[in-house]
Amino acid sequence: MKKILVAIFAISLVPNISFAGPKAEVLHWWTSGGEAKALSVLKADFADKGGEWTDMPVAGGGGDAAMQTLKARIVAGDAPAAAQVKGPAIQEYDDQGVIKPYNIDAVAKAEGWDKLVSKQVAQHMKCNNFTQYCAAPVNIHRIDWFWANKSVLDSNGIKMPTNWNEFNAAADKLQAAGIIPFAHGGQPWQDATVFEAVALGIGGNDFYKKAFIDLDQKALSGSTMVKVFDQMRKLKSYTDAGSPGRDWNVATGMVMDGKAAFQIMGDWAKGEFSAKGLKPGKDYYCSPTPSNSGYLYNVDSFVFYNVKGADKLEGQKLLASLIMGKNFQKVFNMYKGSIPARLDVSMADFDDCAKKSNADLNAASKAGGLMPSYAHGMALKGAQSGAITDVVTEHFNSNMSSKDAAKKLAAAVKASL
């Protein structure tokens, strides 16, 4: 009897080393609609491979609410395994030391990510002075699109403008015909979206880089920037009275109904058209805003924080690998309206706007016009992009002169550094 008891006692002392499988707590704000559907692909893949996904969905404030939750967890010493963070914010977190030792870099090296995504995308995903992968890219959104109502354009004899002067002429014609030329939702991020598309088009690719990536004071306050603000002022005159505060999809609705002709919005606007059963080329046009092979991109990604526990580390590795998987990249992006970050995914099943986006991406990359969007957090840290947006939205919603706006822009950026 004693021997049995000792045996049982001894066995109970052996630590339970078996873990149930890879675990991942994932913070994100894709909480409903097409976005949630897209994410569920990843959840399903993860479960298929034996992983346990703990969802942390937090919508609101363009990600502000999610950032609250994330920072609270980090400060409490309990970061989630993965969080939806993109752009320079990734490197900002790395600077605070909460990401190393870059658990997923091993997976990235083993799978050869450097060859699977473009160099620019890869740079965004790396930490430790851009040497080690710490985030996985999910998609590429294009920001600088025109969405236009085909029948409105056709019946007014208007072709898609290839430069901003043509746009202004077309807008004048439409206004005379009693149609709202430019449907716009007056919220700061939308003002910023329009602003950067205009800046890319009027100033050109190098100008965009100087102003919004290098934050060159001369570019920010110079005469080209003044021209950009001039065009913004013109665009304002083409909007209707109810535009301030309007949600972006209500503005898209105006284009769908033929009340308005054009909207400038990222490729997710496609979803609204599809939901109403409208087809590109037949009912509406999707066309890049005028520029010189420019392309403003936004790469959504998941960053992997420093966590402890074998199951969590396994979970991160599995998740990273799945995100870069061909199947996920294809299906996710078909739901989300963006295009794959991974270069070797077939575009055959995607819609025409997506195909165009992909073709333009390659062209822009070759022409040096592939630019990270400032308005959507890819080019700058939050403090700088916020400062720029404050000036842009103030100018758009007041009588501020373009010269003053440019001056203020340079000053605001300086103060935010």
Binding site: G33, A36, V58, G62, A65, K71, A72, A76, G253
Partner: protein, 285 residues
């Protein structure tokens, strides 16, 4: 005389009616929108009635579209909110009542200063305390549990509950209390036998306020709870605030009304307890 009374009655109802209009209009818009289809909403007029009464949006808001993990809907989160709201409400109300009682009927040195400090604390902007609170909860080991939220809501409700009860009790005459003390009644005896029975109106007010504040809270809920433990408002926000995808306004409106129903029910029930004359005579010396 009767004419004058009638005139003032008419005036009374006119004013009350005008205000009803002001208060009801947004609810009307919300209800009407929740009963329309998305195409009707896109095409139509804000104030127009729906073509047919359509409860689909309500069903989706409550139980989702049956798409499994890709959907947020309200049902699972109701219980979370109850689990958090009721304990926090009860504890903060009880403590507030006792505090208010102690600070007014058992004057001790510094009682007014302490009261002032409680009041002063209600002006703290909640955004400022999120990070230190996260640290504290992490340290206490309750950072990912409903107990953490119960603690947070109780703590930040104390200022108000103390305020309500203290200001109510201060208007209640001291004579009866003094008499009871002379008769030898102790601290708690006086509280439960004399003050509590006449506290109904303020109890109702406190419960209404606390329930609303805790049930409707989003800030604390989103920062200190995660995933399936989240309270209702976090789920509601997740449903309503899509970033780059189609907004189903009818579902949003239906969901908001449903999320507000428990609070509304409390209001309706509590309203019955605003009984006049409850305190007449027995309190004013």
């Amino acid at each position: 005389m009767p004419n004058k009374k009638n005139l003032s009655r008419v005036f009374l109802f006119l004013i009350l009616g005008l205000f009803v209009f002001y208060y009801i209009t947004p609810l009307y818009v919300m209800i009407v929108t929740s009963l329309k289809t998305m195409n009707e909403i896109r095409d139509g007029n804000l104030f127009s009635l729906p073509n047919t009464i359509n409860f689909d949006a309500w069903k989706i808001a409550w139980a989702g579209r049956g798409e499994g993990t890709s959907d947020t809907y309200l049902k699972p989160y109701f219980w979370n909110s109850l689990k958090i709201t009721i304990p926090a409400l009860l504890i903060s109300t009880l403590l507030g009542a006792i505090n208010g009682y102690a600070l007014t009927k058992w004057k001790f040195r510094g009682a007014n200063l302490i009261f002032l400090l409680f009041l002063f604390g209600t002006f703290i902007p909640y955004q400022a305390i999120l990070l230190p609170m996260a640290r504290t909860l992490g340290f206490l080991g309750i950072s990912n549990s409903p107990i953490g939220l119960i603690l947070v809501h109780t703590v930040y409700g104390l200022g108000f509950t103390t305020l309500f009860f203290r200001n109510y009790y201060v208007s209640i005459s001291d004579e009866i209390i003094k008499a009871a003390k002379v008769d030898g009644a102790g601290f708690f005896k006086i509280f439960f036998t004399i003050l509590l029975p006449v506290s109904l109106p303020i109890l109702v007010v406190t419960i209404i306020f606390q329930f609303t504040q805790i049930w409707n809270d989003f800030l604390f809920g989103v920062t200190f709870s995660f995933g399936e433990h989240a309270p209702l408002q976090v789920a509601l926000n997740n449903m309503v605030l899509t970033s780059a995808s189609v907004k189903y306004y009818n579902v949003d409106m239906a969901a908001a009304i449903m999320a507000g129903l428990p609070t509304l029910i409390i209001y309706i029930l509590a309203g019955n307890y605003f009984i006049k004359g409850l305190t007449a005579g027995s309190v004013k010396g």
